[in-house]
């Protein structure tokens, strides 16, 4: 690589200090008696994964990514400044302009469906009237307590005001719970408390059983991924175990940004050791030595609790060079995202963690052989990982006692919108949509529509209340469980506005890499804005169908594939664009 070129801008001493605190000894440039630079392209690849943490430090210190600060980070990590800028400008939480108000805390207020129908606009108006710096944010993962707010602190910790309120779990005390049973019972800050509630029994058992038996049990359980794609977990882990490479990775995909989803936040905030334990089981089973928890930047409470859990587990010898005396090494780290829904897509997440723009890549090759840092990688959703504990402790047969043949076990559902008791619920696969809504206290008012699976999912109407919520039944009905989202809307809700916002969400969140999604998302947004409350003409319906098809067929990743599906369903069901409106 040619020598890097820098502009004249210099960092403030505060910026230098903040960045160096994050980088520690990990710098590409050292000054002893003279300036030494690590050579070759390795200097670029080797440390680049520290770019995102360094940019977080700059943003916190200065309220924006200043040219001088960027130069300093680029020099320390030997990343070309244009590329570092390309990365910084990708994320919602980083500002690359010195706009008025950048010097204050920023109040991110969610404007996605569940908050939008429940006070987001009013809250924004009142915060702005108080002179607060407000940022209209996509879903903040707090849909059960609208309108959601996240405060991005300037030179102080980020915070979520609602975290001050006492936490309630609607199903607390239900003995049938498998994933939520420790929530609200265990002390999330204490390894001892976790152990008193059965913690680390599953790791002990996994080490006794050996990797092959663990994989057999997982395959027999029929566990499939809860992050959206429902890929069989046992097969994924086995592929990683079988893959060549001695630098394998386990990644927990805690980016949770699908509008309507808040389940992983609950798991991480209230049962953080369970995530650490299940990742450790994944590591000893697949032979991975590195673990990463990539968590969205708007989850400060979960981040802190996971960091504490990792530190306590490390001190107890449950992480590190010799996990629980097994001879396996496993090193686990938390990395924060910076506001980008697309970074939940697995290959985009790898790029983001590696310090590149969060742009997905084509598959194949798959992460199991070419994942993080191009090494074999098992990437899973936290809910998927937590299922491993009951499967190992109780056995695959007991696990299969709940759920259906095609969808064994239980599933977390994120209930929000017009239900009496919004919140996180666990049900055996196969409960119907109506039963799940009833379990949340029933709908408020007449159900006009239910959004299943999130913004990337689809709408159904009250006609679907008998739909069993299994993978197979939803697939057959042309909808999806996605990440377990159930948002209920009633006849007073402005569905045109909700649909408009869904199209705006995809327009904003498309990474912009491929044409079908980058342009398709904008054209869909324009189309729905223009439509308003009018009936949709056949010509426009055909045009939307044309857009749906190219986005589903030719986009690179799942975002583009599904970005038109909710609107497609809304048009088909007459939720918008109907003649009678």
């Amino acid at each position: 690589m040619a020598d890097l070129h820098f502009t004249d801008a210099t960092a403030t001493s505060g910026e230098v200090e903040a960045v160096n605190l994050v980088l520690g000894d990990n710098v590409a440039v050292t000054t002893e008696t003279e300036r030494l630079v690590r050579g070759g392209t390795s200097r670029r690849k080797g440390l680049r994964h520290l770019l995102l943490p360094a940019l977080h430090a700059l943003q916190k210190e200065s309220g924006w990514i200043s040219p001088g600060g960027l130069n300093h980070v680029s020099e320390m990590l030997q990343v070309p400044p244009a590329e570092a800028y390309g990365v910084a400008s990708f994320y919602e939480m980083f500002r690359v302009d010195e706009a008025p108000g950048h010097d204050d805390d920023v109040a991110h207020v969610c404007v996605d469906p569940s908050c939008r129908i429940d006070g987001a606009d009013e809250l924004i108006a009142s915060l702005e009237a108080e002179g607060k710096h407000v940022h209209r944010s996509p879903c903040l993962g707090q849909c059960e307590r609208p309108p959601a707010v996240f405060i991005q602190g300037r030179r102080k910790a980020d915070s979520v005001p609602a975290d001050e309120e006492p936490f309630t779990l609607p199903q607390a005390g239900d003995p049938s719970l498998s994933l939520l049973k420790r929530i609200g019972v265990v002390d999330p800050m204490s390894l001892d408390s976790y152990r008193e509630h059965g913690g680390y029994d599953a790791l002990t058992k996994a080490l006794d059983m050996g990797a092959d038996a663990v994989l057999d049990e997982l395959v027999a359980s029929g566990l499939s991924g809860r992050g959206g794609a429902a890929f069989p977990t046992g097969f994924k882990w086995r592929s990683v175990r079988d893959a060549e490479g001695n630098d394998k990775h386990i990644v927990a995909n805690c980016d949770e940004s699908e509008p309507g989803t808040f389940k992983d936040r609950h798991l991480m905030e209230h049962d953080p050791f369970a995530l650490v334990e299940s990742m450790t089981i994944a590591a000893v089973t697949t032979g991975a030595t590195n673990g990463w928890i990539y968590i969205r930047g708007e989850y400060p409470l979960a981040t802190g609790r996971l960091e504490n859990a990792i530190a306590q587990a490390r001190d107890a010898g449950l992480l590190g060079d010799d996990v629980a005396g097994s001879g396996h090494a496993f090193h686990l780290e938390v990395r924060r995202g910076a506001g980008a829904y697309i970074c939940g897509e697995e290959t985009a997440l790898f790029a983001s963690l590696e310090g590149f723009r969060g742009e997905p890549r084509n598959k194949p090759p798959y992460p199991t052989t070419n994942g993080l840092f191009d090494q074999p990688t098992a990437i899973n959703n936290p809910e998927t990982l937590l299922n491993v504990l009951p499967i190992l402790l109780g056995g695959a047969d007991a696990y299969r006692a709940l759920g259906t043949e095609g969808s064994p076990g239980t599933r977390l559902f994120c209930l929000s919108g017009r239900v009496a008791n919004p919140g996180l619920y666990e049900h055996g696969f196969g409960a119907t949509l109506g039963e799940i809504i009833d379990a949340a206290g029933g709908a408020q008012g007449d159900i006009a529509a239910v959004l299943l699976g999130g913004a990337a999912g689809s709408f159904v109407t009250a006609d679907s209340l008998d739909l069993p919520l299994t993978l197979e039944a939803t697939r057959e009905a042309g909808t999806t469980l996605g990440s377990g989202v159930v948002v209920v809307f009633n006849s007073d809700d402005n569905m045109v506005d909700v649909c408009e916002r869904i199209t705006e969400f995809f327009k904003n969140e498309s990474c912009g890499q491929c044409v079908p999604c980058r342009v398709g998302a904008v054209r869909q947004h324009e189309m729905i804005v223009t439509l308003g409350t009018k009936p949709m003409a056949q010509e426009q319906r055909d045009l939307h169908e044309d857009m749906v098809q190219v986005m589903a067929d030719a986009s690179i990743c799942g975002l583009g594939h599904t970005a038109a599906s909710a609107i497609k369903s809304a048009l088909a069901l007459g939720i918008i664009g109907a003649d009678s409106q």
Binding site: G86, K507, S510, G512, P516, V550
Partner: protein
């Protein structure tokens, strides 16, 4: 660089079916290579013969049996017994829509290849109405060597790859922003003369839409005096140093209007440095270069 040429003795052949025709290509070839070998013309935008595929534009997609979605032919490597369709309704639809989407938001007035393909597939950018959002960027004229007109940019990443790992290793420009707001830029969108740019012009050479344009060409177009039909090309070897880069001097009215190098030339692979690319004024014998 992706120019690793297999010697014929070590090549392993892979056979696939393209539109019902059996095609055999060396292992490691792409579906696009196989299509070309079968004599099938495939539209491409972000693909470049000497660039690592980014498969971003999606105009080259084909239908692959067993794949839920269409696949980009420019980057997907052949595997034995693949069955590929390049002219199915699904393929034609996606290609048409990609071209139509681009035409609805980008100024393609100087993108001759794209326009020919748009016509071939029946793309109609007017379907999105007069208010469809466009790139909406002013022309950046910051020096005498080349201009950047991002109104014409299809965000194909070719210039970024050419400036980066694939050729120049200068990394002066990057994709920035996100979604429809994504743009090619230097850090903080600063002007080129203040950036890392060394004016090799390799980005200009790969740009498929004339968004990057030599200043000579830009000025002549402004003066309505750009006449490709009256231009001739003289091949010579750069006289500045001993590397031996092939130069193609494009001349109009006996004056050099741009300098390129052949993509398949084993010394340059289409790339040059500032001297070969822009240091030709002395040929004209007048000091001010025009």
């Amino acid at each position: 660089m992706t120019n690793t040429m297999n010697s014929p003795e070590t090549e392993v052949a892979v056979s696939i079916s393209v539109d019902g025709q059996a095609v055999s290509v060396p292992e490691g070839s792409t579906i696009l290579d196989a299509c070309t070998a079968a004599g099938i013309d495939t539209p491409t935008i972000c693909y470049g013969p000497n660039l690592t595929p980014v498969n971003a534009c999606r105009v080259c997609v084909v239908e692959l049996e067993g794949s839920r979605t269409l696949v980009p032919s420019c980057s997907r490597e052949v595997e034995p017994d693949m069955v590929v369709q390049t002219d199915s309704d699904r393929v034609k639809h996606s290609r048409k829509m990609v071209l139509e989407f681009l035409g609805s938001g980008v100024d393609l007035s100087q993108a001759d290849d794209l326009n020919a393909w748009s016509e071939h597939y029946g793309a109609d950018p007017n379907r999105y109405g007069p208010d469809a959002e466009t790139m909406n960027e002013p022309v950046k004229i910051e020096d005498d060597l080349y201009i950047r007109d991002y109104d014409k940019c299809v965000l194909c990443y070719k210039c970024v790859s050419a400036c980066g790992d694939d050729a120049q290793h200068t990394f002066a420009i990057s994709m920035t922003g996100r979604g429809f707001g994504a743009r090619i830029a230097t850090e903080f969108d600063g002007v080129l003369p203040d950036s890392a740019c060394v004016y090799c012009g390799n980005c200009v050479a790969v740009c498929p839409t004339n968004a990057l344009q030599f200043k000579t060409e830009f000025d002549l177009r402004q003066a309505a005096n750009w006449r490709p039909e009256d231009q001739s090309v003289t091949t010579t070897i750069c006289s500045y140093c001993g590397v031996g880069c092939n130069l193609e001097l494009h001349t109009q009215d006996e004056r050099i209007v741009k300098v390129t190098s052949p993509d398949d030339h084993s010394v340059t692979w289409g790339n040059l440095c500032i001297k070969g690319r822009f240091g030709w004024q002395y040929v004209h014998g007048d000091s001010d270069g025009d």
